[in-house]
């Protein structure tokens, strides 16, 4: 068996999971009036813990094995600090200069440097993959607990099947995101294959966000549509990160059309795809 080329560092993953969960808990315990200051404190804590040092090197190599689990831990905890922005740009203030409970559909600011844009897109995909996973897990727990008509929601086949579909989309998003990340981790951000993999992963993620949000909110009923319940945080983060991801790639249609053009130039969708997924063997 070929060893997976990219594997997140499990020690970093463990430490980051615990730390971000704690940080998020204390942040949300603050009253709304104090939250801007609380985000400053959160940033300082993240820096003290060394999580802001896992900055991908300029060529994008090596440190993704540490960066990916940090990004995922932040997304899973819904900790209100934009770790992808921080790791891709090094801009501290930008990482906390937003209200995590607001959404404006603008896709946020874009970094100036091309490498930072690529790194941010890769980071967004990891955040999205982790937030989708968390939203689905939250929903799985909810449908096991919540009873209607005398039985747990989990026992209704309609619920089972819609969550199965959700799991498919979550898995597809992470598979595509990890291929793009593995490419950057082994070949650097300048890899000629990376844009193709990023465009594919962005389209898969965009579609998954639509469908998984639908499944999770529907299974939760009204409670999932309240600000106090955790699904709202994942849901808002997913919207924000999707918009940012597509803004970084020039828009959703641009991603699709670029990929279509690659197929047309290669005179075969299959040949374009297999070439982009070929990490270095001879091209057929």
């Amino acid at each position: 068996m070929t060893a997976p080329v990219f594997a997140p560092d499990p020690l970093v993953a463990d430490a980051a999971e615990r730390a971000f969960a704690d940080l998020a808990r204390s942040y949300y315990a603050q009253s709304a009036a104090l939250r801007t200051e609380a985000r400053e404190a959160l940033l300082a804590a993240v820096e003290r813990l060394g999580f802001s040092d896992a900055l991908p090197a300029p060529d994008g190599r090596k440190s993704w094995a540490q960066a990916a689990p940090i990004l995922r831990a932040q997304a899973r905890a819904a900790a209100p600090i934009d770790m992808a922005w921080l790791l891709a740009t090094g801009d501290r203030q930008g990482a906390i200069a937003y209200d995590p409970e607001r959404y404006d559909a603008r896709g946020g600011p874009l970094p100036e440097r091309e490498e930072s844009r690529l790194a941010l897109a890769l980071g967004r995909l990891q955040q999205i993959g982790a937030a989708l996973e968390s939203a689905l897990e939250l929903t799985l727990g909810y449908v096991r607990d919540r009873r209607q008509f005398g039985r747990a929601l989990a026992q209704f086949q309609a619920i089972q099947h819609s969550l199965a579909l959700g799991a498919e989309d979550v898995a597809a998003t992470n598979a595509a995101a990890d291929w793009a990340l593995a490419c950057a981790a082994t070949e650097g951000l300048a890899s000629a294959r990376l844009p193709y993999l990023l465009d594919c992963a962005a389209l898969v993620a965009g579609r998954a966000i639509e469908r998984v949000r639908d499944v999770c909110h529907q299974a939760h009923g009204a409670i999932g549509f309240t600000r106090e319940y955790a699904l709202a945080r994942y849901s808002l983060d997913l919207l924000r990160w999707r918009d940012s991801l597509f803004a970084l790639r020039g828009g959703e249609l641009a991603c699709a059309e670029r990929l279509g053009d690659r197929a047309l130039v290669a005179k075969s969708l299959w040949r374009a795809l297999t070439a982009a997924m070929n990490s270095g063997g001879t091209e057929g």
Binding site: M1, V5, E168, A172, A175, W179, L259, L269, L273, T274
Partner: protein, 379 residues
Amino acid sequence: MRLRFPVCPLPPEAERLRAEVREFVAAELAAGLWKPGGDFSSHYDADFSRRLAARGWIGMTWPRRYGGAERSMLERFVVTEELLAAGAPVAAHWIADRQSGPLLLRYGTEAQRAEFLPAIARGEIFFSIGMSEPDAGSDLAAVRTRAARVAGGWSLTGRKVWTTFAHRNHYAIVLARTGDAQGDRHAGLSQFIVDLRAPGVEVRPIVNMAGAHEFNEVVFDRVFVPESRLVGEPGAGWAQVTSELAFERSGPERYLSSLRLAEAALACAGERPSARLREALGRMAAGLLALRAMSLAIAAQLAAGEMPNLEAALVKDLGNAFEREAVAVFRALASELSPPSAEFLAALAETTLYAPSWTLRGGTREILRGLIARGLGLR
């Protein structure tokens, strides 16, 4: 929830093999030996299978002493996906190569392996799947075909349906009841290698909606099956059948059924392809990339001796939905082609007619989603 799809890129030797397969396919097409089709289970050409065998591409992962080539699972992955992408007529050997051979390798006796595997690898004998029955479709454990012990072996009586190419293949692996269920309906089932030309076997055609004779009903009337044709342990049939599922459900045939349609559309896109066509091709590439990444991860897990049945169910359900959606997308784009070629229309007709079968064969959508839900801890 733990679904594992680690990144498993193909090793350089597998990519080199891809180039060989493409050359082989190009030479076959140049010689006019077949026309690209669409579906892995419809285009049957025993001569093609034998030419493939001559290249060492059937049973290619098996040990050399059984006629295999000891190539890796990922190299086999490349051969299968390239043949499917080319629309090659792979139906004759497909089941024997994917499923029956590996089953015998895993559970068969030494004599069974020696008798059948080299012949499969030479492209000389082909297998059908003998699972479904009139009253046992998705509910496979309801099979009623029964094998009773007789001197020197078993006497098989019952009926199988949807037995693809039983009229052309040589053998079927038949799942039959050999003991009492005794409260556990998965107990008392066994698998047999059944000669489809043996006395007492009747193969009756069932023509499908596309007008093709692929399906059959196979009736067994006191068919004598020698003891030597029992596969594995009597009563262990259910465990053996479920061990094939990851092989059966995770491969590229579960998401490539409409690739030919997209490629045909691309080929008649004209000088200035419309934005809608470019978008559709791009979205198809994205879906394909995710499915291929997942399918590759499973191939690597199977190579490592794991049985990722849950992951395989997920790939199949997602893949079938993907390949079906593509048919609707490219049908709507027909008016943007300049003009739709004969090949595009043929691919559109075939995929349109066959699409209903994709979410049935190899495990229905409903069964797969139930399996995934169980994996998620919902049942």
